[in-house]
């Protein structure tokens, strides 16, 4: 069965991307195969009993709401102006909410529309002029046997597979999941399109402003009907649930020039109205999104997937709405995996995989007391800076934070690598020390629009604590000159210097030659965290 599925997938995948859409007469059958595993055209589904119970059990306001929404669904398409289509859509949404035990939410009707549209031709043939809604609880008999019902099992299977995060009965969990999607999306944005990220962040435009409709209607509310069908072809044939989020990411990247030009005050509405038109553009965007997915660190991708699709984790995390740091953080395992990932994998699009570089951001002294063989070092001490009383070019005691002057020189050093390698920065892993080197540098790089910047979470400490899986020697974990006692001593000294600095001197008292002008960066970090904590 599996191999049949794989074969079919590769066959239809080829068909889809040679024509940039599936032919409308075979589409229902292909969707039926991929969503329900049935190698046949969708069959009629007549839910007489269940529908009756559903209509009786839902409250009148909910039914009124559903009716109102189906009656204003897709006003530009004549199919949805027909009463029988509206009645069937109404019945389907009532039944769906009843079966899934969820409250109806606006957006569900938008997702249903393309599934109804699949059977547009069949519905036109039926003589159903008498179908109309008489009472909220009454099942219009002819509506039950409408050929449109063929779409219902497909609609259910699609939602359950691609958007289970929308189907949680608890409103709290639903919103939590959406917020989580926004946070992960921000991280993707800063990784792939840092300039877009910073443009939006500076204008205080957050994903909860422009992504809601994308994620809640799975783009059905944002694209023309024909384009939604093509996008759903891509989703269904590839079976890639996460392409919803990467498609959104690609939409933003694709329109970045508009976002950079537009007046800051216009950014929210500009983001809102970003869309694509035509089957070719949809497919092209989807393919580019897929490439973005393959460049994304796989560990992060899996975490995102688990957070959105593995329902068991919902309840555990639902109480703690932790903001996710905007920058891409990788654990040691994820970093090793990324390091060892090669473009030869089965995934053809990963041929775009870029080299992966590890940069040690600690001071020279810490680095000399032990570092990874594969890590390059940021030569802080060689950067020009204002003189310090200790007669050192880069003195960790006088310059606990790198100044903009220093950061600019570090960025100049990275310049040849801009967007052609993946950069992983590593600090000591000590929160105080990391705020002095690795975080400012990571932020400065993304602010200078460097793509593919990530941070090794927990830094050197986490690598030292990392337990190698038995029998394997992961590439990249060879140490040079490791002296843990010395390392600890230096870290302690730096920390002390930092604490003394922050407690003894107010900002006015700080001598200007300390180059203490990286405060804006730290403030930005704080403001970012505030944005994530929104709500």
């Amino acid at each position: 069965m599996r191999s049949k599925q794989d074969k079919a997938e590769s066959y239809w995948y080829k068909c889809l991307f040679s024509e940039f859409q599936l032919a409308s007469n075979i589409r229902p059958r292909v969707w039926n195969f991929f969503l329900l595993g049935k190698d046949e055209t969708p069959t009629l589904f007549s839910p007489v009993r269940q529908l009756e119970t559903a209509l009786n059990s839902l409250s009148i306001p909910v039914k009124e709401q559903i009716w109102l929404d189906v009656s204003r669904l897709r006003p530009n398409l004549s199919m949805f102006q027909r009463n029988q289509v509206r009645v069937v859509a109404y019945c389907m949404l009532c039944l769906f909410c009843y079966q899934r035990e969820i409250s109806y939410f606006q957006g569900l009707h938008e997702i249903l529309a393309p599934f109804l549209f699949l059977f547009q031709a069949a519905s036109e043939d039926e003589d159903t002029s008498t179908i109309h809604l008489k009472g909220w609880n009454e099942v219009p008999p002819l509506a039950i046997f409408s050929p449109l019902w063929k779409s219902y099992p497909l609609f259910c299977a699609f939602l359950e597979r691609f958007a289970p995060f929308l189907l949680d009965p608890s409103e709290q969990v639903l919103v939590l999941l959406l917020r989580r999607a926004f946070c992960y999306f921000q991280t993707l944005l800063v990784y792939h399109s840092p300039r877009v990220f910073w443009t939006l962040t500076e204008a205080q435009v957050t994903p909860d402003m422009y992504c809601v409709s994308w994620f809640v209607t799975l783009f059905a509310g944002n694209l023309n009907m024909e384009d939604v069908l093509v996008l759903y072809d891509c989703f269904i044939v590839s079976g890639n649930e996460m392409s919803i989020f990467y498609f959104a990411l690609e939409l933003m990247s694709r329109h970045e020039s508009i976002l950079f030009q537009v007046n800051q005050a216009m950014l929210p509405e500009t983001c809102m109205h970003i869309t694509v038109h035509g089957n070719y553009q949809v497919c092209e965007t989807w393919l580019a999104a897929r490439t973005k997915q393959s460049i994304t660190p796989q560990g992060f991708h899996r975490r995102f997937y688990r957070a959105m699709y593995e329902t068991k984790e919902y309840s555990i995390e639902s109480t703690s709405d932790q903001p996710i740091d905007s920058l891409m953080h990788l654990s040691v395992e994820e970093w090793i995996e990324e390091c060892n990932r090669t473009p030869q994998s089965a995934d053809s699009s990963s041929s775009t995989l870029l080299p992966f570089f590890l940069w040690d951001c600690r001071s020279k002294e810490e680095y000399d007391a032990g570092h990874l063989a594969i890590a390059a070092r940021v030569p802080w001490e060689t950067f020009q800076t204002n003189p310090c009383p200790h007669d050192s070019m880069y003195c960790p005691y006088c310059h606990p934070y790198p100044s903009n002057q220093v950061l600019n020189q570090a960025i100049a050093l990275f310049e040849p690598l801009r967007n052609i390698v993946r950069i992983c920065l590593i600090g000591s892993g000590d929160e105080i020390l990391d705020q002095m080197d690795v975080y400012p540098l990571a932020l400065a790089l993304t602010r200078s629009h460097f793509r593919y910047v990530c941070i090794l979470s927990g830094g050197i400490h986490s690598i030292l604590e990392y337990k190698k899986p038995q029998g394997t020697i992961p590439h990249g974990l060879d140490w040079v000159d490791l002296d843990r006692a010395k390392q600890k001593w230096i870290e302690e000294e730096r920390r002390k210097a930092r604490m003394t600095e922050s407690s003894s001197s107010s900002s006015e008292a700080r001598p200007s030659f300390f180059g203490w002008n990286s405060q804006p960066i730290l403030d930005l970090r704080l403001s970012l965290n505030r944005i994530f904590k929104k709500g």
Binding site: R72, F105, I258, K534
Partner: protein
Amino acid sequence: MSSQSKSITPLSKYKLVFLGDQAVGKTSIITRFMYDKFDNNYQATIGIDFLSKTMYLEDRTVRLQLWDTAGQERFRSLIPSYIRDSSVAVIVYDVTNRASFLSVNRWLEEVKNERGEDVILVLVGNKTDQTERRQVSTEEGEAKAKEYGIMFMETSAKAGFNVKALFRKIASVLPGMENVPEPTNMQMVDIKLNSNTETTTTSESNQTQRCRC
């Protein structure tokens, strides 16, 4: 852009957030104000929608950023973050739907929780054209507004009744506008994005056009 280059005075930006139950006519009021048109079948707003309008008043330019929120219960916990930083909160109810009027208290609480006293509140009873279906009288609306000490107005987005007046009234009480006479013959310029998804790109975002107001 030539129309904008003339303005010397700094541009003031104000955020107006529209709140209220579903289908009370928030989108209709905004569309009537923006484009002076009405449609019986506005699609449900999912999450939020944004529109900006630049008003050229006698001695200043004011940009109103209209935040049209979704009225439905299900995503209501997203709303507080939309209310944040707003200068004006317009709470809309449907005069033909008592339940939407009863929800006004909850919306007011929502705004107060988020903005305290730093916001101009306006209560709007919409759909006055449907006189035979009215369930909430003007007096009740007025009483509610008086109780909370906020502005009140009844409108009909369908008939175009009082919509322009509503925005004129709001413009006159915006912070920093106290000394400016209530605009009467103001010129308005739409900064219009291509809100119609059936057309090709958003590149027309800077297009300006005169409105019929």
